[in-house]
Symmetry: D2
């Protein structure tokens, strides 16, 4: 593929927040342009009708997914609900097998089909594609992503949790089993659907835990930590909380050190591992990152701390759930899949305040 021309991008399910975020980021991408946008509920409308803040851009009108011509796109971002996604992607790849696909749903994240069936309540509809799919936690699986046709883009919580934990488990510095991840998210993680629970009056000036012990991102995290643990299965405690902000995830992970290691070893390990990564920044020892430092960016920032309890340590990681937790990492994966500059379109500074 030559890039004297821009990459053509199709977005399925463009009316969600991740769709709008893809457009925000792609607008500054030097090598990409939007080919089509689908949103069945709004087919025939302008993107500006759904998202007035995009009204000044020159964007194609929204179409139904049935109207899309897959061949018009080099890359397809798929932001459809999980479950239906499998059928759609199967169809796309049967009609346009050269397509590159980054799927933002949960449909191609779990390599074990039984685990998928257990957590999502139905058998996987495209097991042969799942076998092909690459898990798109870019910093960890970059080489596989580079050669992939289908990437399952990681969940938001799971990205925040895995980036600090995987290198430490791989290095044998912490016990892989029994990690406790206390995660806090802004409300855009729940999407744009009309739910009473997400009204401003229900969210602002308060917080709560939800899906305690049962959230689906637990199995995705465990998949990653198990792999880092040499395939030896681990269980993880994962507790999500909803915080009155729009963007941002903060994950506080409580870990047990192995042997005589200290939290300083963890810091050294992570610092070295991510030293040349453009999007992952390890804070100075003892410095806590804030979600506002990564708002609107594709960064993950990680802080490492001693625990008062001997033999334990604390990790704090932050991302913007809509960027590194969704659309930004999707573009990062696209860049890697197509051999583009990995940071292309992703070098915005955090919007603070």
């Amino acid at each position: 593929m030559s890039f004297t021309e821009k990459v053509k991008v199709g977005v399925l399910g463009a009316s969600g927040y991740t769709g709008a975020e893809l457009i925000r980021l792609l607008n500054l991408h030097p090598n990409a342009e939007i080919a089509f946008l689908t949103a069945n509920r709004f087919a025939g409308q302008r993107m500006a009708d759904v998202y007035p803040h995009l009204s000044h851009l020159d964007l194609p009108d929204l179409i139904a997914i049935e109207e899309a011509d897959w061949k018009q796109a080099d890359v397809i971002f798929c932001g459809l609900p999980h479950g239906t996604t499998q059928e759609t992607i199967k169809q796309v790849l049967s009609e346009a097998p050269e397509s590159k696909i980054v799927d933002l749903s949960a449909d191609f994240r779990l390599s074990d089909l039984d685990t998928y069936a257990e957590w999502y309540g139905h058998a996987h509809q495209a097991p042969e594609l799942q076998a092909e799919a690459v898990y798109g936690l870019t910093e960890i699986f970059r080489d596989a992503v580079a050669g992939a046709r289908l990437v399952g883009n990681p969940g938001c919580y799971t990205t925040a949790a895995q980036l600090p934990l995987i290198p430490l488990i791989e290095a044998g510095l912490i016990e892989a089993d029994g990690v406790i991840i206390d995660a806090k998210s802004g409300v855009t993680g729940a999407g744009r659907s009309e739910k009473q629970a997400n009204l401003h009056a229900e969210i602002s000036e308060g917080m709560h835990a939800y899906a305690v012990g049962t959230h689906r991102h637990a199995c995705e995290i465990e998949q990653g930590l198990t792999l880092a643990n040499g395939g030896k299965a681990v269980m993880t405690c994962f507790t999500p909380h909803l915080v009155p902000m729009n963007r941002g995830i903060l994950a506080t992970s409580y870990v047990k050190l192995t042997g005589a290691e200290s939290h300083e070893s963890l810091h050294a390990c992570l610092s070295e591992r991510y030293d040349s990564e453009p999007f992952v920044h390890v804070m100075s020892l003892g410095v806590a990152p804030a979600t506002r430092e990564v708002r609107g960016t594709n960064q993950c920032r990680i802080g490492v701390f001693a625990d008062r309890v001997p033999g334990r340590a604390i990790l704090v990681s932050v991302i913007d759930n809509l960027v590194k937790g969704a659309s930004g990492q999707a573009i990062q994966n696209m860049n890697v899949m197509l051999g583009l500059e990995e940071t292309a379109g992703l070098d915005q500074v955090a919007m603070f305040p």
Copy 2:
């Protein structure tokens, strides 16, 4: 003491948020009235100048602490900064030994003088009063509070954390050592002082952890859990986070079960323990409480959850940091100390939305 007349209340350090909150709550108290309000920085001004929302109330003007006549008050709430408080209370009790005092600072919370010196950086200035002081976590130490002259009102985080944990440790259902408490607070916990870090533009739309592994409330929690553990010393992991809301604390505690107990045993234990308590409510099994359910009230709500990791459980507790975490519990303690109805002045419904 006869209550044909109202109890006279003095407030030292009335210009802080806890001072304003005391006035808000006392305004509806059937048996109490304000005798004097001190705030050296604003001496001579009206309370309405400091807090316009109180302007329609008939309140005494602010005076310097040196102008206060201790004998005019039956009860004194002390909302001064820690450190200076010890000297002040020593003076009050030497001049007016019949006074009842509820101290909202940290000065009389730690029974061990060495622990105080270690965490607060100086020797305690009133050790004989510390020996007399009662720790005012009312539901746990009600009898001692009833007979006390000086009550050290618990910290906000510590109230939220201890109420679910102490009964479970006392009952031997969870391991006392190594409890992990991940706590989240609204910004009023930081007070009303002019700090850049607490500006709206710095707080809203973001969150962060702070004082990781070093927050002073850790030693206060450990004191309580150690006592519940029959005096056998415990260490606790306590991590505070700042969340973009004004009021509310949510503490998520990760605990290890002893023996063959399940989270259902924890739920049964707490339900029984707090069954007749007017301010502590244990949610139905698996139901998560939200800070907004207790906003403006003296309640603590507790949820109990299974952990995916076998042998462990999760507790979620919520309070309003300015009420049950400060001024409300102070009034509750006053009520107990004076033999008033314990709920007097504290039966407001949460302000939601």
Copy 3:
């Protein structure tokens, strides 16, 4: 009616924010208790299922409106959608003609049936009751409210706007025609229904005007100002804005002075008019009120200012839209209708911060 017993209160449409707010306020009312709560969508459920923050109260379960026995209530608050309300109240008063009713919808606010039909799109269904209904802006129409069987509780914007304007027009100090009212509201004014536009992510960190020149509260304001103007019809410019907060309305009114009056005359007029009112407070000249000063209370606060443009003045008025703008004024009207203390249940201090 003797009040050795408490007044029995029924609430129709109790699942909305105004229903929850009625319960919050009535909980502290010394002379009232809840008899029944209807909410057809949630019939058979507990109020705690709809509003967890009320779970510790002893409340009757929600019933369908068809199940209500009107005779069990002395007073009925009606929080149903406009349009359907007329039929319901007609039925209530035919079956239980002794009932006292405070209607929180717009159905009985407009005395002119043609105006109603024009703005609400259909003929009034209970014109004979409209003839009987009293407009419940308590401070202005107290005597009529005292003798009423059916009170149309004013809208939130209209309460904030009329309280400063009516006395000035009655006194001939400002021109009644062409007043400009720029109003800003928190989001609870839009109710609890699941609308994308009211999601946290759509509301926070931004604001907008809406229904510019077409909002239905304009005709209600004009009705009040026309009456104050001796019946001479006026037109008013009214522009509502949605602000990222839950509660509060701030109305900035731009007025033209008559003759040689100054803004000081306006201040004197309002100060005198509201001097003995428990809920309306006129700020010192030049002091601006804030919505947070009245949050959770039944107060209206009014500021009076000179305009740089000669011959003009500016009025700023604030209320809590759920209290003085809805449920609080409804209880105030109930108190007046039944001869109770007008402030009963309404003396809470603003919750700040």
Copy 4:
């Protein structure tokens, strides 16, 4: 000047929000790079110490203004407090007369020295430079900006207010005198200084008017409207309000039509006037813009509405106060002054949600 090299930019007073915002925007500017950053209070520190979200950028350390070498910069943005700015810029231009300066303070906005002295309380310290300075409302004064050495960057409120009003006054469609501007701002307009009034707990969940009839931006607006009015002096009513959000200004302007014009004429006039402007967008007739549509961008969006009151109309304009109201317009002016592409560095899409 050749642009094979990047323009060197110096920022005076870089520790304020406008300084951080300049860096955020310049980071994506294809033709500019930071030469030095001054902040006397933080001299010797890294920008990352003051703004952690900038820590991953390669920025020069903060220096004292006395250490700056003016010759290292082609353009200087001056974000110092008003008053001191005049002396500083006089010195810069005396030592480096070739410099291009965009001043973000109020010091060079008012062409009339008496008006300056009246509103700012002291005589202007650099009247000869004021005579030279160009008022940088780019869309209105582009040609003058292009030839300027010193640009006084407009205030945030004044930018939002003038952009819709000036063309309409110039066209004679509205009366220039007596325009009423009701403006609402987010809290970053107050800067980053430690003021109790700007704490999160004081701002969130409430709003208020301030400086009613006395805000300094009134004279700046009047200067612009007077000029549009052919020099015939006008008075304007301008009322600012503080809204609980970080960014954004919304100005609602109430205007009187001249002759037989309607609001449709106003819409046509503005649409034509701004048709080819990259940053000013006129909404379809009757559509209201929201501040969130321009958050983080250099756009101004304008809505035009009929007023119910005959002969009047309503204009709603929105900007991001830190971008088009400060740093973005400053860069726009730099681009024009240097002959760069006017939109360079300013084509970010709004960050929504």
